[in-house]
Symmetry: C2
Subunit: 437 residues, 2 copies
């Protein structure tokens, strides 16, 4: 049978039960989908490929899914570090956004973020920022998969003047993206402390009707809890529950402050958590009890947050930090294993975004969102266990090739849909503007 692409790989980690690694196997891709995964000697008998890649030092993995970021904030990478959270937000980030945030800001910042993510093996990102229409447009242009957040917040911005307008523009965008194969949408009410009850109730009902996730920062800090107790007499998660938002559509980001009862609540509801360890550490937000949440049956995915509080969009680094930190937090060196961290960065993210039928693992029938990483460099030698090496030793710079829906977006470390000679001057211009302060 003639197929579009055959990739003969040293190893393949499909991230499918029983979560094995197979050696000397071939991934068969046709019409943008995975149609077979089998030993290479059999593949060579059964298939002829229009494109044939032999990647013998490489491991093939599902493309990584960055389940929480603010892509355009890449323009503010490192602009203000080592500051207490409120000082950082109020005196640095928000003033800069007020001064500079625009369609052009979002276009250029998103382009930079996408280039970084593709080079680092991320094939899908879950975004929350202004001008989500621009984010979707740039994602389509680069060929990367994205869930764009229909941002809702009580405060006016250049994107919308009040929560009704935020919602309205979001619904229009959802409709426009209905036939997109790469872009989907999620409602993205910023946080319990920036969105009032009425818009949250509307979102609860639209999300159910349109089968969209609800992507929201929840219980990020102890301070958020304390403020909510003062203002409403209840913890934010309880308020969200009363508003009908704690269910399988909920994509709760950070969740560093959870009681045992809240863990049980989220587990029973089938809600999802997005763990952002580097952001939580950098902003001293707290420690998400990841091992406990996983043990309770909660689907925990992984995200980098924005580049201004990380300061990279590196899902390999994030997997490592999650696996390391999770052990110490659980006081158990066997907690949050390498395979668990890899699942958080792939299939768990797909589940959180409602895309588990399409992506998140290398299974026959799914979209061909695949990455190849070269483990032959000395930094990842000697090699005993590919999964472990990927999580505990490899760098994203060892990613050589990336496909999304069977289209190659990174070939031998070169981006194929992004022109850096055209992008970097735009970024340099932003550096000049933002640095003048």
């Amino acid at each position: 049978m003639i197929v579009d692409i055959l990739i003969h790989a040293g190893w393949i980690i499909p991230v499918e039960p029983p979560f094995d690694t197979v050696k000397d196997h071939t991934l068969v891709i046709h019409d943008g989908r995975i149609i077979d995964l089998l030993p290479t000697r059999l593949a060579k008998q059964r298939y002829k490929g229009t494109t044939v890649e032999t990647l013998e030092n490489h491991v093939l993995l599902p493309g990584l899914i960055n389940s929480h970021t603010h892509a355009a904030m890449s323009l503010m990478r490192g602009i203000a570090d080592d500051l207490p959270l409120m000082d950082w937000l109020q005196h640095h980030i928000w003033p800069l956004e007020q001064q500079w945030m625009s369609e052009e800001f979002v276009k250029d910042g998103t382009d930079l973020a996408i280039a970084e993510m593709l080079r680092g093996g991320t094939t899908c990102f879950n975004d929350m920022y202004f001008f989500p229409d621009i984010t979707a447009q740039q994602a389509e242009q680069a060929g990367i998969r994205a869930t764009v957040g229909l941002i809702v917040i009580d405060f006016p911005s250049v994107w919308a003047k009040d929560s009704d307008e935020y919602l309205q523009k979001g619904l229009i965008l959802t409709e426009q993206l209905r036939d997109s194969s790469l872009c989907s949408t999620a409602f993205a009410p910023h946080a319990p402390y920036t969105v009032s009850d009425a818009p949250l109730q509307k979102i609860a009902s639209y999300a159910k009707e349109l089968h969209c996730p609800v992507h929201i920062h929840v219980h990020e800090t102890q301070h958020e809890i304390e403020q909510a107790m003062e203002q409403t007499g209840k913890r934010p998660l309880q308020r969200l529950q009363e508003l009908g938002l704690v269910n399988k559509s909920l994509v709760a980001v950070h969740a560093t402050q959870l009681t045992d009862a809240e863990i049980t609540l989220l587990a029973k509801a089938g809600a999802h958590i997005v763990h952002c360890p580097e952001s939580n550490l950098k902003l001293a937000s707290g420690f998400c009890p990841v091992a406990k949440c996983l043990d309770a049956g909660i689907n925990v995915a992984l995200g980098t947050d924005g580049a201004a509080s990380n300061n990279d969009l590196d899902m390999f680094g994030e997997m490592r930090t999650a696996a390391l930190l999770g052990k110490a937090v659980a006081n158990d060196a066997s907690a949050v294993s390498a395979m668990t961290a890899l699942r958080m960065a792939t299939i768990n993210g797909a589940k959180a975004l409602g895309l588990a039928d399409e992506i998140g693992s290398l299974r026959i029938g799914k979209a061909a969102d695949v990455i190849a990483i070269d483990l032959s460099t000395l930094e990842t030698q000697p090699l005993y266990c590919p999964v472990s090496q990927i999580v505990y030793a490899a760098s994203r710079r060892q990613v050589t090739d990336v496909w999304v829906a069977g289209r190659r977006l990174l070939q031998n470390r070169q981006l194929t849909t992004v022109d850096l000679t055209e992008l970097m001057p735009r970024i340099a211009a932003w550096q000049q503007r933002l640095a003048e302060k």
Copy 2:
């Protein structure tokens, strides 16, 4: 004036008070030492260089100092992960060492570790392993700086049969290395729970006489403390104090379990701590109170530990983890700033090893241990603050050039004193042997 090397750099971070970053400056190197650091336009008037490097997208830094590692354990990178500590040691690491550890093991493993460290901008490492004579030999051969540990442990090994023999061999090696410009020695009693009082007392006295550091794992886990209380009625640090070891020679590794009184004790004694965050997280050992220790005036350096519990020897990654974790542990997003993390990886390590007159910062008169890192790649753009970008965004793979004592060991990402075509087959052979289990 004609000098050996002129390096015209985009930025230089000397890591000297007032801890500034300077732009468009030149480092002047002659006879292996730094003889000037000045604006490039002045340098071009005053000096002619035999070798002239123009690195306009790069930052020059002091070479990074890995203040605690077990270099040869690179051969066991990833061989056993996600296991509780005692299971890992007793059923995996110790049996493998018993079976395989030898001069050849140490030679090949050390060579791999040195190659990895040089490629990642580390110019000096503080080692603790068997056959320290081999470690010193391999370091001299590669041209990297090393403090080799004169290991002392109660148990017999292929290196020595009892603590007297360990000590004797160590003293012989110290004498042999007396005139080495690259290698120095430290006494390296493994840990309080593996070394009895008599050898520790001898070490206390030799260290004073020979002005050597004493490099020891201390208070790594709560379990260590509990066992010591059971067996001796006192915490290990108290026992070490009574044995005369808590003084400015002490290089206490890990120190995750410290009371306020112990912090005061270490500060008053002028002792040093080596913080190994990734190892502490991976083995669920605990959280070193780094910010508290620094605030108390303790010199805190940074180390990767061995590649079997990290799993890399990446000092850039270690700086990042230290800066991120330190904030969350201190519950303060302004704690362990980027510059603090950089100091931990450079001048603080030099102080711990008694080498602060020679290395650890780019100061006139010091040895030219220098690295260059290219910040122009998209992953570190836009660039607002080089120190921050290095700690929170850069990868060790952006290191392009490395000099130790003015000799270039990495040129445009290529190792100049290590032949990888000769090294990697040796490593592959070890992979085969160790994998058969």
